[in-house]
């Protein structure tokens, strides 16, 4: 019934009875030239008009109501070279036109974004821009979020989520990380709207927060483009120094009356513990493994897409319920999206994108919190010493968000080669954070009368943009496109929060029912940014491409004059394959060179030397220092130079190579004053830094085998990056909260910089007196990998059976296994306890919680055995974090899927009813297998989520789950 309704709707939109006797039409089929298989969803249109259609599942198309005339007819499809034909249509004619498309392995004809208001085909793009066709992957797997979708699929970009919590915070690792300050994260746009990329989670649960991007439904995403640094992202200006991620959601396509597309996908699956704890490492391993469960996944998504020359529409609904691998750990997301494109005439197009999300994420207590689930089973040998298990699992955390992500834009082209565009977008995110400590359960340090935390946060960001584009030909071989435009951003945050405690009954626990108000407060900020840009792109003989751009940015940074800053950029591309003497095996050989500058703004309050807040105490309300700023602060400037080439060769292979160098100057580094100054309420920002980074990224992809029944696609990505803090302007090194990760001259950012344990010291009686320490700290490696990469296989056999596998790896990095420091000091490691017993150190400051191990005899001081045990013990001394930095290189079988399309069977099974055009059943899995020397369960986690200075610390942090999914995707 629904299907019939939508077809009727589509017919209404495209049917124009008055034109039936004055027009003709054209119809035909589009096939894959190599396999002769019909191609679905090919855009077939008449150039210079708004007339067109998308091919149906059998490759056919129909464009009705075509006024008589001669047209260039175009067929374009992702992954295939575009073809054009000349057709002549007369009144009443139905002209048959068939297309046979050749594969475009490099996707050279895809239009990609190369600047804030400019797009061009990849064949002409002068910068390294990566484009991920998201729908290709969501057909093969079911992803919880953007992080899983992107990871391993874009050269120069890796994505790491900091824990196994559903909706966990995650970090993009783009190239060598840009400058020093900021959060090293790219700026993200969805359908032209700059969105909030914060981590949220107003109340702490030990370290983990939530990615605000967990609201997105991956099934709604059409493609993701990434400009990976200032060279490509200069026109995006401030905050684009770590790249620009441009997410485009799906749009409707022009369809004939029988081809309105309805897609329904049902997925069920489960999350399960990927790595077991071993009793070799933890006496409490059995108790630790017992906290895990198989978490259910249940997802339904439906979308309807179609349209006419006047209106194209895409509507989707999604519901995802997911349980994490421990209790109190789940995600419940509802998404609704409507995307409309209205083209009232050939000169004017309106686009409306509206997304609405309801999301509820619950996090467990873990990480750096003794009330946590894992801390209570990995700390002491006896579980739940810190807190009773009833209290741990009775605790509730809830983060309910509702979010409107909307944009409205209009493009008007009043005359040839000139277009103007105006847009408005809003990202309005409301979050209610609740935590409940139930009545009658005891939490260390509190009474047993229960407590409630409640927080309402509203983050609102408006984007306004405007640009003009004019293309002209001053010479016959020279085309220039000039663009000028402006962007405006308005960001607000309103936050109110309250904590109460003391309830008489668990039956009534509203805020007003509490006996005591612990505290209540509110927070607010308002910030604006604006940028004016101009860009001029020159194309000479479709062979030489030069682009020059300049941006001037403004921002409200309270306390000093709003900084305004210029960001220049220039890039050049050169098509060698256009030379007649160039080997014919190359369909494309493009050399490119790009330079650009962007920057990172100081924090809103960074320019104010001293800020006070009011604080209440028993003496009354008084002034407390809250922020220490620096009135001289300026934005950090990040420069990047990149050089590379893109090649498509031997018909089936494509290779991209890019070398880049980044240099950040005036880097803003927040350093805490000496305590003796008394001005330690916050770290102080200084423009003291200079950082350089460099790297190489390559991507090789090919389809060596491709026929009707067999296809093999391969992709290999290899990235190398490194960086060095060149200058801190004389400032002391900056450490994270653990005093382990450092920003220090001569080292890469975030290097582990610690005092080494060199061996054991003995007193005159031969007794172990402590570890022998190095005189000064030394570098122990870096938590950010030098090398990352992935390899994927797409194999299609017996025509419709698809196998997909993605492996990825990261090498040249270290992780600190702080779970071991925790277990050692609390006497939960068998080897540590044995050594303690042998050395007679039980219940001392070195082994405060270790009990003597039965059957282990103390060794005699002075003997070789004693000294060997002492040396080994020194290396396990939990007081020195250098003992716990481990190689964390890994190789993962990240994704696997097996799917079968029943599209050839359905006509045989349902010969009379073709309502179901395709059914694809897919079994897929994530995080299947890991090879690593790291001793913990997961080297990709981080104790303080994904934005802190603390990097690569695993401290009772929940591992990522292994995920299994079974999905049924229907096309109606």
């Amino acid at each position: 019934m629904l299907h019939t309704l939508f077809i009727s709707f589509a017919l209404l939109l495209i049917y124009d009875p008055s034109s039936a006797t004055t027009t003709g039409s054209t119809a035909g089929q589009v096939i894959d030239a190599r396999t002769t298989e019909p191609l679905t969803g090919v855009n077939v249109y008449l150039k210079g008009t708004s007339l067109g259609a998308a091919s149906t599942s059998d490759g056919t198309f129909l464009i009705p109501n075509v006024p008589p005339g001669t047209y260039q007819m175009v067929a374009s499809h992702v992954g295939f070279h575009t073809e054009e034909m000349t057709v002549r249509i007369a009144v009443g004619d139905v002209v048959n036109v068939n297309f046979s498309l050749q594969e475009d392995i490099y996707h050279s004809e895809e239009i990609v974004v190369v600047g804030i208001a400019s797009k061009t085909s990849r064949a002409m793009a002068p910068v390294a821009v990566s484009r991920l066709s998201a729908s290709e992957y969501t057909e093969k797997n079911t992803y919880q979020g953007l992080n899983e979708l992107v990871n391993g699929k874009i050269a120069g970009v890796a994505v790491r989520s900091s824990s196994g919590n559903p909706g966990s915070g995650f970090r993009f690792m783009v190239r060598s990380g840009g400058g020093l300050n900021g959060d090293e994260q790219p700026v993200i746009y969805i359908d032209g709207v700059r969105i909030n990329n914060d981590e949220v989670g107003p109340w702490g649960v030990g370290g983990q927060r939530i990615s605000i991007l967990a609201d997105l439904n991956p099934e709604d995403i059409e493609n993701i483009e990434v400009l990976k640094g200032p060279a490509g992202g200069a026109s995006y200006g401030t905050n684009g120094s770590n790249g620009v991620v441009l997410i485009t959601t799906k749009k409707g396509k022009i369809t004939s009356e029988s081809a309105a597309g309805i897609n329904y996908k049902f997925t069920t699956g489960w999350n399960t513990q990927a790595e077991k704890y071993s009793t070799d490492d933890y006496l409490s391993a059995d108790a630790a493994n017992a906290i895990f469960r198989d978490g259910r996944i249940w997802q339904n998504s439906v979308s309807v897409a179609g349209g006419s020359n006047l209106l194209r529409y895409f509507v989707s609904l999604e519901s995802r319920e997911e349980e994490g691998i421990t209790h109190n750990n789940q995600l419940n997301r509802k998404n609704f999206r409507t995307n409309l494109d209205v083209t009232p005439n050939e000169k004017l197009t309106f686009t409306v994108n509206l997304g609405y999300t309801l999301n509820d994420i619950q996090r467990p207590l873990n990480d750096f919190l003794i009330w946590g689930q894992l801390p209570n089973v990995l700390g002491f040998a006896r579980p739940y010493v810190f807190l009773d298990s009833l209290s741990i699992y009775g605790f509730e955390d809830s983060n309910k968000s509702n979010r409107i992500l909307a944009s409205l834009s209009a493009e008007y082209a009043p005359f040839k080669n000139f277009a103007m565009r105006i847009g408005f977008g809003i990202d309005d995110h409301d979050l209610r954070g609740d935590q409940t400590f139930p009545v009658n359960l005891t939490y260390t340090g509190t009474n047993d009368l229960g407590a409630r935390n409640a927080d309402n946060v509203r983050r609102k960001q408006n984007t306004y943009n405007w640009d003009l584009r004019y293309t002209y030909n001053p010479l016959s071989d020279l085309e220039i496109t000039s663009i000028a435009g402006a962007q405006f951003f308005d960001r607000r945050l309103d936050d109110t929060f309250i904590r109460v405690y003391g309830f008489e009954t668990e039956l009534v626990t509203n805020i007003g029912a509490a006996q005591e108000l612990a505290f209540a407060n509110e927070d607010f900020f308002h910030r604006r940014e604006a940028g004016f840009f101009t860009q001029h792109a020159l194309a000479f003989r479709d062979q030489y491409f030069l682009t020059l751009n300049l941006r001037r940015d403004y921002a409200s940074v309270i306390g000093i004059d709003a900084p305004d800053i210029y960001y220049p950029g220039a890039n050049f591309a050169w098509r060698f394959d256009k030379y007649p003497y160039f080997p014919g095996n190359f369909d494309l050989m493009k050399f490119r060179l790009a330079y650009g500058e962007t920057g990172v703004l100081p924090d809103l309050l960074a320019g104010i030397p001293l800020l006070y807040r009011a604080r209440s105490s028993a003496f009354g309300v008084g002034a407390f220092l809250s922020n220490i700023g620096n009135s001289e602060i300026e934005p950090e400037r990040v420069k990047e130079f990149e050089v590379g080439f893109d090649a498509e060769f031997l018909r089936n292979w494509a290779l991209e190579f890019t070398y880049y160098r980044q240099k950040a100057q005036n880097s803003i580094v927040a350093s805490r004053n000496s305590p003796s100054t008394g001005r330690t309420a916050s770290p102080v920002p200084f423009n003291i830094g200079e950082v350089k980074g460099w790297g190489v990224e390559t991507q090789l992809q090919g389809t060596p085998i491709r026929s009707r029944n067999l296809q093999l696609g391969l992709a290999l990505i290899n990235n190398y990056q490194d960086n060095e803090v060149v200058d801190l302007g004389g400032a002391q090194p900056i450490f994270d909260n653990f005093g382990a990760n450092v920003i220090k001259e001569g080292l890469a950012k975030h290097e582990f910089f610690l005092t080494p344990v060199l061996g054991a010291e003995f007193d005159a009686d031969g007794l172990y007196s402590g570890p022998k320490l190095g005189d000064e700290r030394v570098a122990f490696g870096n938590p950010v990998p030098n090398y990352t990469g992935s390899f994927s296989i797409n194999l299609r056999v017996i025509k419709n059976l698809n196998f997909y596998l993605l492996t990825d790896w990261a090498t040249g990095h270290k992780v600190m296994n702080q779970s071991n420091t925790f277990a050692y000091q609390l006497g939960n490691n068998p080897r540590f306890n044995t050594l303690v017993t042998q050395l007679g150190l039980n219940q001392t400051g070195l082994a405060p919680f270790s009990s003597p191990v039965e059957g282990v005899e103390p060794l005699t001081p002075g003997t070789a055995e004693y000294q060997a045990a002492a040396k080994e013990f020194a290396r396990l001394d939990w007081r020195f974090l250098s003992n716990f930095v481990e190689p964390a290189d890994f190789f993962k079988l990240r994704e696997l899927s097996l799917s079968y399309s029943f599209k050839d069977w359905l006509p045989k099974l349902f010969s009379r009813n073709r309502a179901v055009k395709d059914l694809v059943i897919t079994f897929s899995a994530l995080n299947l297998w890991t090879a690593t020397k790291y001793s913990g369960p997961d080297s990709e986690v981080n104790v303080f989520s994904a934005r802190s200075l603390t990097r690569g610390h695993d401290l009772a942090t929940l591992q990522h789950p292994r995920v299994y999914n079974l999905s049924f995707a229907f096309s109606l």
Binding site: W466, A484, E522, P609, R615, S674, T677
Partner: protein
């Protein structure tokens, strides 16, 4: 066509000119104010309250760790609420410079010193029409500036047995010199005291500073004009926002520290001592070991004495022990009587020290007494002070090289 393009570009330029105005037109902060906005007479009470609140934070946090470092309370894995193994470093006097607890208390000591001094600086820069308000501001600026320096000199050290402080990235200021700086502040506070009771309170603080500095004559002189019986103690006040650290770390809120067992012996020997040694029995994690939990601070809003007339009497007794033993004994018995405890017949130094640890239980005196009377309970080389934090050591070159630039402490104003 060109005209349309020109008009459009002109429009863009107009927008560009408006960029600067656009970004500056933002709503003000609601929860923070800039420093110079406080340069007004009407803000002085707000500033004084802030200094006092800072004092409450620093006093409670510092003396908890100081008592932990002393032999008065101890940390043990079997204590029912023991959860922070870093307290082991305090308990054993093997404290790392990056110990997070020490890092925090070293910060708050500096913040108190800065805010107190800054109160005086600000007062000199604004016109105050209310002389009483000006006096009160001066008194508090000097008083808490003196207390901050006293806390440095008494509880912190650059080396295990070398106490002292540091100001504004200066060289290390040894305890003796730091006490002098505290005395300078206290003397000014005395000059600006509001009434006689306030004068007596400051005199007691000065007397104690001299006593700890080893200047018995001056200590006696000021103690004689210090707090008298009936005077209320000078206390750090707490509530549920800035709360008593003992309650949350060594009390009914959370018990990570237990009172030394000798305190229960004192009560066994004389049950009336329970009036001032307020401890209660609890059971350890093993279900058998008895630990003694303080309830002198039974709630999170329990105040902590900074100085009391009883402590003033104890100081006088100590100072008169050799020269006027009868008077010293009488003073001790007055203190005991204030809790309903019977008199001592004789008094010697050992008895006096014991009286001090009973009377000043959990008030931060024991660590100093152990040092003063040679009663250190830990091994050689252990910390007798809370060490300067790594944060100071890493950021202040004058600590290691006093000749590197201007390393002298700032002059007192």
């Amino acid at each position: 066509m060109k005209r349309k393009v020109a008009v459009a570009i002109l429009f863009m330029l107009v927008l560009c000119v408006a960029c600067s105005d656009f970004v500056e037109n933002v709503d003000p902060l609601i929860d923070k104010i800039e420093d110079d906005q406080l340069n007004d007479e009407s803000q002085l009470d707000f500033l004084i309250n802030g200094v006092m609140a800072n004092f409450a934070v620093s006093h409670g946090d510092i003396i908890l760790l100081a008592d932990g470092l002393s032999d008065q309370i101890f940390f043990n894995t079997n204590i029912p609420g023991a959860i922070l193994p870093k307290f082991f470093q305090i308990e054993h006097g093997t404290i790392q410079f990056d110990n997070s607890d020490v890092t925090v208390v070293f910060r708050v000591a500096g913040e108190l010193r800065f805010q107190a001094d800054d109160l005086l600086r600000r007062l000199n820069e604004i016109e105050v029409t209310d002389p009483e308000l000006a006096r009160k501001t001066r008194h508090n600026g000097y008083l808490f500036g003196g207390i901050a320096r006293y806390l440095y000199a008494t509880y912190f050290g650059l080396n295990p047995a070398e106490g002292g402080g540091v100001e504004e990235n200066s060289r290390f200021i040894p305890s003796d010199e730091m006490y002098d700086r505290a005395l300078d502040r206290f003397a000014n506070a005395l000059d600006h005291a509001g009434d006689e009771q306030e004068r007596r309170m400051v005199s007691s603080l000065i007397a104690r500073t001299y006593l700890y500095q080893g200047d018995a004559a001056n200590a006696l002189s000021f103690a004689q004009s210090g707090l008298a019986q009936g005077d209320p103690p000078f206390r750090a006040l707490y509530d549920n926002r800035i709360s008593n650290s003992f309650f949350h770390q060594a009390g009914r809120g959370l018990m990570q520290w237990a009172a030394a067992n000798r305190f229960s012996d004192y009560i066994l020997a004389d049950s009336s001592d329970a009036a001032r040694i307020q401890i209660e029995e609890t059971t350890g994690r093993d279900g058998t070991t008895i630990f003694w939990r303080q309830f002198k601070y039974a709630t999170e809003d329990a105040p902590i004495n900074v100085i009391s007339w009883q402590e003033n009497e104890l100081m006088l007794a100590e100072l008169e022990l050799d020269s006027a033993p009868a008077s010293a004994l009488a003073r001790i018995n007055e203190v005991r009587a204030s809790h309903g405890i019977g008199p001592l017949a004789v008094l010697d130094l050992t008895a006096l020290i014991q009286e001090r640890e009973k009377e000043l239980f959990l008030e931060g005196a024991r660590l100093v007494d152990q040092r003063r009377f040679g009663l250190w309970h830990l091994g050689a080389g252990t910390w007798q002070y809370l060490p300067f934090s790594a944060e100071e050591r890493n950021n202040n070159p004058c600590l290691t090289d006093p000749s590197s630039g201007d390393c002298e402490p700032p002059p007192l104003r």
